[in-house]
Amino acid sequence: MNMEQYQDLFIEESEEHLQALNQNLLALESDPDRLELLDSIFRAAHTLKGMSATMGYDAIAKLTHEMENLLDQLREREVFLSKEIINSLFKAADLLENMLLAIRGGQEIPIDAAEVAATLFRFDQTAIYEPAGGVVLSGEGVQIYQGGDILQEFNEYELNLFRRAAEEGAAVWKTVVRVEDSCVMKAVRAFMVFKNLETLGEIIKSVPSVQDIEDEKFQSEFTVYLVTAKSDEDIRAKMSVISEISLAELTRIILDEDNSAGTQALAETTENTAGDKQAASPDVRKQPSPASQEKKQKIHQTVRVDINRLDKLMSLVGELVINKTRLEQINVDNKLNSLNETIEQINRITDDLQTVVQNVRMVAIEQVFNRFPRMVRDLANELGKEVNLLLEGKETELDRTVIDEISDPLVHLIRNSLDHGLELPEERLALKKNPVGLLKLQAKQEGNRVVIIVEDDGRGIDFEAIKKKAIENNVISQHEADTLEEQQILNLIFEPGFSTAEKVTDLSGRGVGLDVVKSKILSLNGQVYVETRKGQGTKFIIKLPLTLAIIQALMVKVQQELYAIPLANIDETTSLELSQVKDVQGQQVVVLRGKVLPLYFLRSILAVPGNRTPEELYVVVVRKGDTQIGVVVDELVGQQETVINSLGKTLSGIPGIAGATILGDGSVSLIIDIGTLF
């Protein structure tokens, strides 16, 4: 079988399991008594093992197998949980992640799993390498199920049914039926057995095969494997009504999902003789765990779709929106009343369609947030700090493209908070603060945008340090430093080449500063602000548009040219007479409600040809970072839905131009990128 087509799926699913493994490890670390977490971790490791073995990634299979061994011993209380063990498990998870990365990149890291495990899990080697296998007591005597035995009896398909049964809270019963020697029509009796058992559940296997049994190709006994949620009494009752047969053995096979395809299976048997039907011992049966029931509830019906197809769908909807606008234009130009109704309908439908497609592309920010607990834990350990990480609003949804891009800036901000923001526990104690620092990551939707807040209760940002550093790095002059307001000083941290870290650590202060964060967020059409209070903490606020493909924009006219300004950037618009424009040290300004607003004439910024000089001008007040700027245009045309098209490779990266959009009349208008316009 060609496995390549499954590779993407494998990687994706493995990442999910790895994520689950990491999360549960974290939970276990903070609460070592929750042994059910071990089961979840085991399950994740086990599934990874199964999948990687199927795909032929032996290194992963081996490593997960070693993990399983260790986890199993933890579950059996042969080994007790220690910080050391947790750390080794984390390391193993990291290793797995790297291996997955390597596979994604087209190669496999050949590792000697045994060797790695020996290093990782060296605290108790003798216990780890103990042979696996389950020992089970039955009523009459001892019956040993060696690991391989059960495996040989079932193929993968049947094992899968076992697993599903376990998930659904059903049990697998091995039912050995003996037909009396005197019986004339053995096949008929067998048929009745099948029929009766099938009222209880599903027969997944029989030995010999159904066909052979029907053909009476068996001596006096045959075995049926039944999946049912009913009790053994029910089975016995069903069997007792059939004459000339007896139940030779009724054994519940517990193929613990965690152990299934692996090396061992536990079986718990109750052996019965013909006349002794009631001597069962049902009290030792394992009840389906609450975890598996929970899991059952969580199963949604979903389809995995290639993101490219969604992009294609989105661009088709985009084209539809363009043509809709065109239709509206035709209607306006020709005043066709009969068209009105149809256009309204189309309007509604395209609106709905657009919403649906946009929703399909929405991904919960959980996907990004989930990485952080692990990262914060590692960083805090490394820095010797204690942190309580709070995640809020994980379910907040963002467009897939934004999700992909937002991860790095958030990582940066979190590292920043941990490294520069939060103090060491001793310092915090000295300051009469809780020695455990607080790092809060919050996401929420506000209207058409998503707000993400990274907040810590650390030392805050030192204005003097920023000033000093900014002067050192020639970001500002001494004179500027004396005149700048606090907020302006604070904003200097977003300037390129700026880092206040006294010493260069592994974490931050590597020259890659907050300016990268800022430019990334600006490129996503978002904004970032910072608030800080000395000794009390720092708060970074990121505002992002929900989606990038279709935006609301204000169309403005400069001479004969039309431009679109994203509504997200606009605070307000106002009209203005030329005489109100003042010149302050070469900078044109206007006083708006007592505040001085710097003005930029789009006409000169973009060198728009033409010499019309209108008496009345319009100012679009836009927000760039946290300063307001007035963009002067000749005319406000109106608000419009615009589909953002890229200008292509040749013209990409022109400062001030975010892209182009096609207007109702088929002409092209450029979209202004406020972030890079000035």
Binding site: E319, I322, E561, I605, L606, A607, V608, P609, N645, S646, L647, G648, K649, T650, L651, S652, G653, I654, P655, G656, I657, A660, I662, G666, S667, V668, S669, L670
Partner: protein, 142 residues
Amino acid sequence: MSDQYVAFKLDSNEYAVEILAVQEIIRWSNITRVPRAPEYIKGVINLRGAIIPIVDSHLRFELAGQEVTDDTRIIVFRYDDTIIGLTVDLVTEVLSLPQQSIEKHQSIHGAENQFISGIGKLEERLLIILDLAKVLELGVQH
């Protein structure tokens, strides 16, 4: 390699480009100026929903400016996944130029010679064969 070429005129000279690179030839349409773009980028147009940049060949080859006339056309090239248009004064014809009639020569002087891959001779006509890679090797200098 095909020996079919699209021939067109710029000023008084006749040029030719390989037909395989040509996606289509369209009439002059409204071009939206792109501020801050290189000078020889005339702007962008909407080609059935796609935004494509248009190169002004007069500016690209540093020829004297030319008014847009009824004959002005835009040749749309598909080159290396990029679709790009080039304005020309007049598209003359599609013609066949056998390899042996093309002289790989660098003896023509003038601004445009860096874009020339050879000279094709067809009876009395001389056709300047453009090196599309060079002509369309555009990049925005930031």
